[in-house]
Point group: C2
Amino acid sequence: MRPATMRDVAALAGVGLKTVSRVVNRESNVSNVTRARVEAAIDRLDYRQDINASLLRRRGRKTATIGLVLEDVSNPFSSALHRAIEDRARERGVMLFTGSCDEDSDRERELIGTFRARRVDGLVVVPASSDHRYLIPEQRAGTPLVFVDRPARFLNADSVTSDNVGGAERALSHLASFGHRRIGFLGDALEIQTAADRLQGYSRGLAALGLDHEPAIVRTGLRSVDVAARAVTELLRAANPPTAVFTAQNLITIGALHALRELGLEHTTALVGFDDIELADLLEPAVTVVAQDPAAMGGAAADMLFRRLDGDDSPPEHVVIDVELIARGSGEIPST
Amino acid sequence: MRPATMRDVAALAGVGLKTVSRVVNRESNVSNVTRARVEAAIDRLDYRQDINASLLRRRGRKTATIGLVLEDVSNPFSSALHRAIEDRARERGVMLFTGSCDEDSDRERELIGTFRARRVDGLVVVPASSDHRYLIPEQRAGTPLVFVDRPARFLNADSVTSDNVGGAERALSHLASFGHRRIGFLGDALEIQTAADRLQGYSRGLAALGLDHEPAIVRTGLRSVDVAARAVTELLRAANPPTAVFTAQNLITIGALHALRELGLEHTTALVGFDDIELADLLEPAVTVVAQDPAAMGGAAADMLFRRLDGDDSPPEHVVIDVELIARGSGEIPST
DNA sequence: ATGAAAGCGCTAACAT
DNA sequence: ATGTTAGCGCTTTCAT
């Protein structure tokens, strides 16, 4: 029942422990005859090296693992990030520990603590918490740390983010080019950095167009599809409703689509969403979005982490990944 | 730079190594004064127990990790499974190693080999390969092994699958109840067990309705959205086309939706898909599907694995998770 | 080319 | 209540 050890292999092959170690690690200074004998024993015992024991004694003490803190492994954005990082890690023979923290900052700390106990070589974090000073010791200890989607707060660390401000601005000018002058904003809680950035982009967009900021058509703190749908309904039923809306997040866009459909306004009120949604092109009208590129973000984050792991200790970098406006129909409805 | 060890803590606190171990592991027989001293030292050194070293010596040699082989962490089905398993694992303080194998059987073996080297306590596998005899030593060594979505081949192991046959049958009888007598089948490669099962359900459904099996309106081996779209287009443009189609997989359903839209037949040809798709309710018509329950599948798989880990060594079980037909519109278009 | 001894960070088993 | 010794499975170091 107990898995075979190197000792077992050595005994069966009639060689010393170190010789088996040499064969397993493909070191030189083993004669072909000896190697063959050892390999036969390995096969016979179905031996597999215990990486944990191996790494314990190794110089450098690397575990060939990295920890990945995501919002939720099952949401499309997180899992696209995950996949991109997995692919990079695989090239280096590195395994991933992942965990979902559901925007819960306690869970973020708990996860990172667990990763630390497992001696991960580095950390990629989509942060939930708003104060990362607790990671100072970690950082000082030399553990590479890359933040994704949102920057670290109160900690100077590498980050990879989308161009949220620029993307929102682009959405605004796109809608304006179709004649819209009253453009509603629907966003998430402003404690979330990306939500705040997108609102800032909206404001800048208004300013660039010489338009006033009208608080009545700006709604934030929308945390679910239903809440978003209700907010959109209210906005459009009020007196002097906006002729276009900018929905600053995935679920909010979906909520807005439901609301517009119910009000029968889907071909009348223009809509641009931030973040692409599945099947957006099959909807009627197809949904215009500012799309992020989670695969590129994950790739950039992994590249950065591995550069750090390879010894790069230049000052923290902040990579901003471009977003793309994909015009599909809903954002090209002209103002009436 | 080197992380603090238990030794360091013991030295700083002026106690023996074992006392620190007792405090860290919350064992009894430590006076409050001593405990406080040790805890202060832990805080000052920012010490964190090295789990790998700890587990190396522990009785039972458990690593508190499980390995999860998925088709692709970024696809919705896989990631929903992943999340369900993560939640169960978290309750037990178990971490997950995950990997995507993209339907590549070599990659499946490679991943499982890596997991084995890391001494995972158990394995949950969505299999890509068609012969699992290579896992016999693993199984004999007592490593719990649960297959999900598709059963093991040539290996008697626990499995959790959807009711693919029954679901397909239900789709057939649903379409028949709206008058359809010529129902096309569009499916994936039959090497994939689920695809074969769904075709079998289709055949049974036909038989139950007293309908003939017409090879001309059955297409299999459709491996992408585009290929599926083309197949649907061909089917519907041919002489004597089916009045309804059953698309036996996610991407095929999406391909069919594109094709129907392009042909202008979306309100004429009935469609039932296997596996739910995002935003199916916002499409026009909304898409009727036979929905799997990946969260339930993952939960059941995790429960099974942990039962095995807790010592249950009864014969392998094959849990079948029910599927649900969700009527939304496309499947209720009557035959003309 | 090969192996014996020491030790990685920790827990088990046994003192005291 | 606390400490000491051995040893988990492996690599390092140093010998032969």
